[in-house]
């Protein structure tokens, strides 16, 4: 099921979102993917300004955020077209620099005068602040258009948070946070070598490159490794920032800013008195958007101040780097369905074994708890290993050539000999192994289970009708594909659910996994389910090219 169709699928399921909105989501036809987009430096000219954030319940929320005062030096990854950086966005622009660079951030205070001074903290860096006015934690850009400059050396690779160091309880709540990614200065050689050797990991970036180019996929990575260490090579990457909004705080800030329009900064009355407790957040966001908005494209025009999405995709066997940051004030248990995540490092500090600098020592987690201000880098992958049935529904007796693909195990048991194969990285121990007890369509019998008939609508309106990966397998499993016996495609040729507009098997037919906050009340948008901190990760069969460029 494609992200678009998933979005359509999930949208109308809540109890309160008006029909208008459900219809509106269907007008957006672009297939949205994610990557970790941002702006490049090493000099960044930022401004802090107010604007309104869009929420999927139809509300707009007055907020503050960082943005680009002038056009940035560039955007990355270059494969994403249509990149933009407005004067206010939430999260703030993702600053992408390279290890060893001297980074300069010039900040201009474009907030309403009553909002007072503002600043940026870059925890994890030794920052020199120049200009500006004195502040508690750092020098600040004065109210009413003041400026300040922060300079530091990007000493070590990794993902880190940045956020306001001025009246943080209010300014961070209002949206003043972002991410800075430091790329390693050199690519570990192992990242570009071939498939894994015996006992090796799925460290096959070179071969994956062959597969990507064969299927005309572009490279959306910022780098080949997360750190200066061969254990951190990756094939794909995503950045997720978690934050929440208490609309009462934002509404009060807006009311007071309006009431004090034109006040003079020197006047003691020219400041906000917004209580930030008690705290009752109602919006829970990934990259500044609530679901389903987070599954729209990066830089989507309908969210001019929320440019980044949350819409991960990957192919089987791809090492996927997750850059996860807790912003805002609460912890959020971020649960990745589908597999565990190996934590590489926290706040740019690679976690290695105390006895072997070549061995990772970070934990393996199925729930990566986000903590305010803390960034984690981790590696996730999916292969289907151990399912005990062939996820591609190969059938050696089929008439369909693509149902009879070979699976030749490498030293680790995966089919990596031919990077151009649809079943690249199939787990060969289960090759050809059926899951169904009885034959169905072009799927062989002999397996352990009896599945619901995929041609029956009672099994679910949105369910794709197939437990198998790949459009070909999806069709064959419903009795409608090549190799299926005549007449097996439903009674009287009816269309199975997998052939409905919501689940067209001719486009994307990946396995969909929910990635979400496991404080489940946070997968709501202002009391509406579904919403909030929720996105769908898709594992796409190789023949479906993943295009993260919008």
């Amino acid at each position: 099921m494609s992200a678009m169709t998933l979005k359509k699928a999930i949208s109308p399921m809540n109890r309160l979102i008006p029909l208008v909105m459900a219809a509106a989501t269907q007008l957006v036809w672009a297939v949205a993917h994610a990557a970790a987009p941002g702006i490049t430096g090493p000099t960044f000219n930022l401004t802090a300004q107010p604007a309104y954030l869009s929420q999927p319940d139809g509300q707009t929320v007055y907020s503050w955020g960082y943005g680009c005062r002038i056009a940035p030096a560039g955007f990355a990854p270059s494969a994403i077209a249509g990149a933009s950086c407005s004067t206010m966005q939430v999260p703030g622009p993702t600053l992408i620099v390279t290890e060893g660079q001297t980074v300069t951030v010039n900040l201009t205070n474009g907030l309403p005068t009553a909002a007072g001074n503002t600043s940026i903290l870059f925890p994890g860096f030794n920052v020199t602040a120049t200009g500006g006015v004195g502040g508690l934690l750092t020098k600040e850009a004065a109210a009413g258009g003041g400026t300040v400059t922060y300079t530091f050396t990007a000493g070590s690779p990794g993902t880190r948070a940045y956020y306001s160091g001025t009246q943080s309880d209010l300014q961070v709540e209002m949206g003043m946070y972002g991410a800075i990614i430091v790329l390693p200065s050199a690519t570990p050689a192992a990242c570009t070598t071939g498939p894994a050797t015996a006992g090796g990991s799925l460290r096959f970036a070179g071969a994956n490159g062959t597969a990507e180019s064969f299927w005309t996929e572009r490279d959306f990575r910022l780098a080949a490794a997360a750190y200066d260490n061969a254990k951190t090579c990756y094939d794909r990457e995503y950045l997720f920032q978690f934050s929440e909004i208490d609309p009462n705080i934002h509404n009060q800030a807006m009311a007071q800013v309006l009431a004090k329009t034109g006040c003079v900064a020197a006047n003691p009355a020219c400041r906000l008195e917004v209580p930030t407790e008690p705290y009752h957040p109602a919006y829970f966001m990934i990259n500044g958007r609530s679901m389903p908005d987070d599954m729209d494209t990066n830089y989507a025009p309908q969210y001019p101040h929320q440019p980044y999405n949350g819409n991960p995709h990957m192919h089987p066997g791809e090492l996927t780097l997750l850059r996860i940051i807790g912003q805002g004030r609460w912890q959020h248990p971020f649960h990745e369905h589908g597999n565990h995540v190996r934590i590489l490092g926290r706040d740019g500090n690679l976690i290695l074994s105390q006895t072997d600098p070549n061995s990772l020592a970070g934990p393996l987690l199925f729930t990566t708890t986000t903590t305010p201000g803390v960034a984690m880098d981790g590696i996730f992958y999916w292969t289907g290993k151990g399912l005990n049935w062939d996820a591609y529904a190969h059938n050696p007796a089929s008439q369909d050539p693509s149902a009879k693909l070979p699976c030749t195990p490498d030293a680790n048991g995966y089919n990596t000999g031919a990077p151009t194969a649809i079943n690249y990285y199939e787990w060969c121990q289960d090759h050809n192994k059926p899951v169904q007890a009885a034959p169905f369509g072009d799927v062989p019998a002999g397996g352990p289970t009896t599945l619901p008939d995929p041609n029956l609508f009672t099994n679910g309106a949105w369910y794709g009708g197939s437990p198998y990966l790949g459009p070909n397998a999806t069709l064959r499993a419903t009795g409608c594909g090549a190799g299926s016996p005549a007449g097996s495609c439903g009674a009287s040729g009816s269309t199975p659910p997998s052939g409905t507009i919501a689940n067209s098997p001719s486009t994307e037919a990946g396995f969909a996994f929910m990635w979400h906050s496991h404080n489940e009340r946070e997968i709501t948008t202002n009391n509406i389910f579904p919403g909030g901190m929720l996105m769908m990760m898709l594992v796409d069969s190789r023949e479906f090219p993943i295009d993260e460029s919008n």
């Binding site: 990991s201 990772l360 934990p363």
Partner: protein, 638 residues
């Protein structure tokens, strides 16, 4: 669930209903095969766990996939659960409404606080007459006659699949019957539904040489006429019979047998209003195949909600979306039907499970349960070192976690798979297997550690949860619920607040059907055997399999007096890629909903006596308005 969806789906539903054959419509059923590709009954007794000596030997099979040829490990496990509603009793005596799962197999084991997961020989047995009332007590105990606690469950005996009954006899007409040597191939005009070993009767005026009663030799036989499942073979006593095609009289028939057919009456009698908190306990062993049937009996107090339910096996590695339980990406079963989830047991660890329909609502309302996987190491003979056994696991690519210089053959130079967690230990030891399977005891290991460092004498699953009484009240009535103001007031260990946590036996609650139902089967009394050494000092160890499915906040659990050694986190052994154990000792652990952790309470050096597990979130030491109770229980070193 939702009006908009109704409107949008109404028309296509009707159209498709007209086009679909009713034969494959949904209904109640269970699945628990006695033989599979992975566990062929011809090679292996699937009703017990064999000792682990080496990997299962796989060889290329006739159908193009690998099949076991010797040394089959693991077994088949089955369980049935109901999805519906029920009531539970809170620590202050309040009766609280639940959306909940209840046991529909292993009901005696569940009542005794044990996993309801069964071998096929137990699951596939028809039960006694389970009458209405409290169903779990209808077998040997008279319902609604209890006098106080603990409830006597000694009269209970039945652990099979509730509702299981003989299937209907089936007869099909034969399209073609032929013989090669003495092997007869029968091709029906429709599937007969036979299994290998079934007794089949052939009759017909023009097939006299074939007629008689035989044992099915093979099923799913490819043939030129019909799908393979229309055909089967048997061995005849006479050879050389001529082929008979399109006979008008020939039939093949099978007698009624247990084939997953269930009688809906006992399903409803037992399953309705019989929810548990936590949901039925599940436990499997590595190498097992697990068939988990979810039967949706409906929520009697909320007939306005035609809710589906699912099972999300939280943490299952390399999961398929199909069995992941997320309704938007897989099957969600409707009321009045069953769906069987299928899992090959993943790596050992403390997992958990829950419904994934409208999670903020269904999880808060109580659809949360526990599930753990025991390691291969429990099955290692007492004559074998754990090191040798873990080395043996490196020989199977599915279970391997290789690192350089780990001693396994062939030697490797690559780096370990980035998502594998238990490579050979850095320090080799001579610890030998505890042979839990051989001894039938409670001792075991949390993980395949290879060095015995996760050994325990007793294990206890502990699930942390929270209930918001306002949300539950609103959930019982017909108002839309708010999510952002959710505020838990009951803080639960295994579905109970202190002092109920230390009440032995199951708790029962009267439901709105007037009957008492077992509602909270699991006490949380941790009894650690002292196992005094020669100096009279205790040495006993308890493994706490702690999971948290709170939906609104983090919870902390602290130990008073006995140190907590954390050995696993999120169902993974704490060990780095170089094989160093990263265990740590603490006096408290903190978990969010959706996390699990393995703690060993080690009584070494601790005097016998009573100790406490409690939450330092002091506002969680309460039962709603009562400033007493909450997330607390007792630990006894005895």
């Amino acid at each position: 669930m939702i009006n908009i969806q109704l409107v949008r789906l109404g028309l296509p539903t009707i159209l498709l209903a007209l086009l679909s054959l009713p034969a494959a419509a949904q209904s109640f059923r269970v699945q628990c095969p006695t033989s599979t590709i992975t566990h062929p009954s011809a090679l292996h007794n699937n009703n017990s766990e064999p000792a682990y000596a080496a990997k299962t030997t796989l060889a290329a099979g006739a159908n193009g996939y690998l099949v076991p040829s010797a040394n089959v490990n693991g077994a088949i496990r089955c369980q049935q659960i109901s999805g519906g509603d029920g009531y539970a009793t809170m620590g202050d005596g309040t009766q609280t409404y639940l959306f909940s799962f209840g046991p529909l197999s292993g009901i005696t084991d569940i009542a005794n606080g044990l996993p309801g997961t069964q071998f096929p020989s137990i699951f596939n047995t028809m039960g006694p007459a389970l009458s209405a009332g409290d169903p779990a007590t209808a077998d040997g105990v008279v319902a609604n006659t209890w006098t106080g606690f603990p409830i006597d469950t000694t009269g209970l005996t039945y652990n099979g699949a509730v509702g299981l009954t003989l299937g209907i006899a089936n007869v099909v007409t034969i399209y073609d019957i032929s013989e090669t040597g003495t092997t007869v191939r029968v091709i029906g005009n429709s599937p007969l539904g036979v299994a290998i070993g079934d007794t089949v009767t052939i009759s017909g005026a023009d097939t006299t040489g074939y007629n008689g009663t035989f044992t099915v030799l093979a099923i799913n036989v490819p043939n030129p006429f019909f799908p393979a499942n229309y055909a089967f073979t048997y061995t005849n006593t006479t050879a050389g019979l001529a082929e008979v095609t399109e006979s008008t009289t020939a039939t093949a028939g099978i007698a009624p047998k247990l084939d997953g057919h269930v009688d809906p009456r006992p399903i409803m009698d037992v399953g309705v209003m019989n929810g548990n908190i936590p949901a039925p306990l599940m436990a499997i062993d590595e190498d097992d195949e697990f068939f988990l049937t979810l039967t949706n009996v409906g929520m009697i107090m909320r007939p306005d909600l035609f809710e589906q339910h699912t099972v999300h096996f939280h943490g299952y590695p390399n999961a398929s979306a199909f069995y992941d339980g997320v309704p938007d990406a897989s099957v969600a079963i409707n009321i009045g039907a069953s769906f069987t989830y299928y899992y090959l047991a993943p790596d050992a660890g403390t997992y958990f499970w829950h419904c994934h329909i409208t999670p903020p609502e269904h999880l808060q309302m109580g659809m949360v349960g526990q599930l753990y996987v025991r390691p291969r190491q429990n099955r290692v003979a007492s004559t074998t070192t754990l090191n040798t056994a873990l080395l043996a696991q490196q020989a199977d690519l599915r279970t391997a976690c290789r690192r350089p210089s780990d001693g396994a053959s062939p030697a490797v130079t690559g780096v370990p798979d980035i998502l594998c967690s238990n490579p050979m230990p850095a320090v080799s030891t001579t610890a030998v297997g505890a042979a839990t399977v051989e001894k039938g005891g409670a001792t075991g290991y949390a993980y395949n550690d290879g060095d015995g460092s996760t050994y325990y004498d007793v294990e206890y699953p502990l699930q942390i949860h929270g209930f918001d009484p306002n949300f539950h009240f609103v959930g019982m009535t017909f108002n839309p619920e708010g999510f952002s103001d959710m505020k838990d007031k009951y803080f639960l260990l295994n579905g109970r607040s202190y002092p109920d946590t230390v009440t032995p036996g199951p708790l029962a609650t009267q439901s709105t059907d007037g009957s008492m139902h077992f509602s909270q089967p699991l006490p949380s009394i941790i009894n650690i055997p002292c196992n005094a050494d020669v100096n009279g000092k205790c040495t006993g160890k308890a493994l706490l399999r702690i999971s948290d499915l709170d939906v609104s906040e983090y919870q902390t659990l602290a130990s008073l007096g006995i140190p907590m050694k954390v050995v696993g986190y999120n169902a993974k052994l704490l060990r780095d890629q170089a094989g160093n154990n990263l265990y740590y000792t603490t006096n408290s652990i903190t978990l969010a909903g959706g996390e699990s952790l393995d703690v060993i309470l080690d009584s070494t050096g601790v005097p016998a006596g009573t100790y406490y597990l409690y939450t330092p979130n002091l506002d969680h030491l309460s039962n709603d308005a009562e400033n007493f109770g909450g997330l607390m229980t007792e630990v006894h070193i005895i």
